[in-house]
């Protein structure tokens, strides 16, 4: 037995089914439209879950998250594209026209936003950088925290949080220090002219060999690169593991290696020269003409 009050409610609902909300659109059609959107929502969720399982170990976390969102958005747009003409009595042509109009308005009013979004998609596609990489983007260097829909977040070595718009990342030069597993650094030292360059090269090579993070292969390359006005210039090219080098900035890498190289040379009696210039005077006495003397008075210039 259905209580009378409830019976009335059910009857009212049944009558309501065929009532028109707007034009030919009935409550039933509105309900079906809403249900189809709910179904699309759950389908998007299931697809996202499946993608996470399927590609979780193949893609980086932030890239996967981005692509799941894009796929879910596409599913939702398709669902709306099917549900609107089916249930809301709107023809597909009108939807396309409306959509085109909306797109034109949006495109004109938010060029920058769309540019950032498209650049974000391109960055994910090209995989130039990803979360955790140590990069330099147009003068900003640091670790990528994540590539969002419209911007890339970078944490600099000094701890500053920088937001770089995606279109700027895409349009500028990007250096990724994590793309390769090894990085080369160059160190320069000058020694005196009278010091033995071969000995200095040998000592520096042996010193770098002992340093655990200077890679065995490629071997450190130490050579005389120049003979300048003050010193004989020796360069050392050393490869380090990127993962190790990226945890240090350039300054600490230099201050950590160079003092050891200097000490190695000094312990063996090879000194780093002061900036100096040796002036040699000609062995012949030179003459100076004293200004103010009458010319022709004395053919031999006076020495002062």
């Amino acid at each position: 037995m259905i209580p009378e009050a409830l019976n009335i409610t059910i009857n009212q609902i049944l009558e309501l089914r065929e009532q028109h909300v707007l034009g030919n659109i009935t409550y039933t059609r509105v309900a079906l439209f809403v249900i189809s959107l709910v179904v699309a929502f759950f389908v998007a969720k299931i697809v996202g879950h499946y993608m996470r399982k399927k590609f979780g170990h193949r893609m980086k976390k932030d890239q996967l998250k981005f692509f799941i969102r894009v796929v879910q958005a596409v599913i939702f747009i398709i669902a709306i594209g099917i549900a609107v003409p089916s249930f809301l009595d709107v023809s597909f042509t009108i939807i396309l026209i409306a959509l085109a109009g909306v797109l034109i308005v949006v495109a004109l009013s938010s060029q920058k936003v769309i540019s950032n979004f498209v650049s974000g998609v391109a960055l994910h596609q090209e995989r130039v950088i990803s979360a955790g990489d140590f990069v330099e983007i147009g003068g900003v260097s640091g670790t990528v925290e994540g590539i969002k829909l419209f911007s890339t977040l970078v944490r600099t070595t000094s701890g500053v949080f920088v937001r770089v718009p995606n279109d700027q990342v895409y349009g500028t030069q990007v250096s990724n220090y994590c793309a390769n597993c090894a990085r080369r650094y160059e160190y320069t030292l000058g020694i005196r002219y009278q010091d033995d360059t071969n000995k200095a090269v040998g000592l520096l090579t042996a010193h770098l060999e002992k340093f655990p993070f200077a890679l065995k292969n490629p071997h450190p390359d130490v050579f005389v690169s120049d003979i300048d006005s003050n010193s004989v210039v020796i360069k050392a090219r050393v490869w380090f593991p990127s993962e190790w080098a990226n945890t240090r900035d350039d300054i600490s890498l230099r201050t950590g290696i160079l003092p050891g190289m200097k000490k190695t040379l000094e312990d063996s009696g090879i000194e780093l020269p002061y900036t100096q210039q040796v002036v040699h005077f000609a062995s012949e006495p030179f003459s100076v003409r004293v200004l103010g003397e009458k010319e022709g008075e004395d053919d031999v210039p006076r020495r002062r």
Partner: protein, 237 residues
């Protein structure tokens, strides 16, 4: 020598290289390890009863960089189809674990072996390895088991050419280290060309009476994808 195995607490050990003390001290239980000028001291729970000391995969110190151990050795020339067993040495890292059977966790990690890193392959496609140089031996060499272990390596030339082999590379999740009177591993290196080879660890013990080590990645419950051997694609010499 450091006594590998499970020890009941309190535990004290001293030799020319290391001093270990684990036990009650100043109203709390402490772990203290002294190597040269370096001292590591930690307060541990009074309820701790066991300590496990064993060699672990030697790629963790001074900082874990990469997952591979590279052993370079004097070149060995193999004729086509030849098989040859050689003995190499590898660096030992010693792990100190706290806990009980099946549930040990790392407390300390130290090593007396020298550290050097290298690049196997090119910077863009290669891999960073912990590099170690070993002499080649025809029989198990006598080594200080605090510093070095013995690797029994079977070289198999599967190619139709004479191949010169001077290095071998192993992946951490593959390593099976055994300990007792010495620290040992057993592996096979199948060489397919001058460029490509595969290294696989053997589950069998090369030497009798050894126990299998608890690896660090197992103790730390680090999820790893188990590979069947490591494929060397950047040369064997």
């Amino acid at each position: 020598m450091v006594v590998y195995g499970v020890h009941s607490l309190p535990y004290d050990y001293r030799d020319d290289l290391i001093t270990l003390h684990v036990g009650p001290e100043e109203e709390s239980s402490r772990y203290r390890r002294v190597i040269g000028a370096e001292t590591v001291e930690k307060i541990i729970g009074d309820e701790e009863q066991h300590l496990l000391i064993n060699p672990v995969e030697p790629i963790n110190l001074p900082v874990p960089l990469g997952r591979h151990l590279e052993i370079a050795f004097p070149p060995v020339v193999l004729r086509p189809g030849a098989e040859r067993m050689i003995y190499l040495t590898f660096p030992v890292e010693i792990g100190v674990f706290l806990g009980w059977e099946g549930n040990y966790d790392i407390l300390d990690l130290f090593s007396f072996a020298p550290v050097k890193f290298s690049l196997y392959g090119t910077p863009n496609t290669g891999t960073i390895t912990r590099w170690y140089y070993s002499r080649t031996h025809g029989s198990p060499p006598g080594v200080d088991r605090r510093r070095e272990g013995v690797l029994e390596l079977t070289l198999k030339n599967r190619s139709a050419d004479y191949i010169e082999v001077a290095r071998t590379i192993f992946e951490r999740s593959e390593m099976r280290i055994f300990y007792g009177d010495l620290v040992a591993m057993t592996a096979v290196m199948e060489i397919y060309s001058h460029v490509v080879a595969q290294t696989i660890f053997s589950p069998r013990q090369a030497f009798p009476g050894l126990a299998e080590s608890l690896s660090l990645y197992t103790a730390q419950k680090i999820p790893v994808v188990q590979h069947k051997g490591f494929l060397m694609e950047h040369g064997v010499a």
